[in-house]
Amino acid sequence: ETHFGFQTVTEAERREKIYQVFESVAKKYDIMNDSMTLGIHRVWKDILMHKMNPSPGTLLLDVAGGTGDIAFRFINYVRSVRERQLQRKLKHHQNLSWQEISESYQEDKFKSLGDSQVVVCDINKEMLKVGKQKAQHLGYSEGLSWVLGNAEELPFDDDKFDVYTIAFGIRNVTRIDLALQEAYRVLKPGGRFLCLEFSHVSNPLLSRLYDLYSFQVIPVLGEVIAGDWKSYQYLVESIRRFPPQEELKAMIEDAGFLKVDYQNLNLGIVAIHSGFKL
């Protein structure tokens, strides 16, 4: 027995219901994120990327990565790091000919991502579809691939990835312990686990306002924008059901991660948990 929002259901029912939620919201997912969080989710995801601070050559597995927000940010980030690296290299070579300088700026000469790669894994076909379309639309193709898979049973070999991220996804996993174990398995030794997720607000005043906003405004927005009150009701309830910061930290440690830590954003509305496979 487990929970779906505030309802009690079997594990199988929960997986099915959650699949349906995301199938239903996929096309409006990005718009709803912007509306519900007043665009602040973009800042949260930017902060996650800055915390990761990936260098070119990094191999990232983004789980529950659906519509690609983390993947695209990763690509942008390593691209700009790479560009700065190359510019610095050029500045130090004082006796390059014009020929050599122009050659190094040619796109096919330098690998703009420097061997960095991101694999987006999601259990939901519709979310991946939206993500892939977005990628095409925005011009992302190099170093990006998509896999339909289950966070609890990943189709990846051991010790493969430098970084594992799960942003606003772990809340929807039915067996979080299995997902964490799988995360540990697929990371290289020295690899980093990063989780961005809604968490718990301890400040009583903010907590009241947050509850009010969550239960009165969000489902209404869901109905008006996506025609789907129930899915957003689930979202709000699932946030309340999700373990708070310290409990999630303990679960991550149980999976074998070390140096586990978390950083509250907006007083705990969101938290970034980090751990290392050492």
Binding site: Q117, V119, I123, K125, L128, K129, K132, S145, W146, V147, L148, G149, N150, E153, L154, P155, F156, D157, D158, K160, F161
Partner: protein, 83 residues
């Protein structure tokens, strides 16, 4: 899961999207975590040991065990399982 026409591929249309080659470095069977063989003819990833095949749809490998078909039987003549 449902395959097919909603992916914009009618019968006898363009060849299915190939798998991103770099993925073969990491992909394994989610059940056994053992390597897979890419079968170009059917656009599937085959686990010979367990006798199952994971489909690749629109270039995206479907690595959910429930979606895999067993390779023991011959695939149906009329592709209900068209990539």
């Amino acid at each position: 899961g449902g395959q097919g026409q909603d992916l914009g591929q009618g019968p006898g249309s363009a060849r299915p999207q190939p798998l991103e080659p770099s993925l073969l470095r990491f992909l394994v069977c989610p059940l056994s975590k053992r390597p897979l063989r890419y079968e170009e003819a059917t656009n599937e990833l085959i686990n010979e040991e367990l006798g199952i095949a994971y489909p690749i749809i629109d270039g995206i490998p479907n690595m959910i065990p429930e979606a895999a078909r067993t390779t023991q039987k011959k695939p149906p003549a009329e592709g209900s399982k068209q990539p």
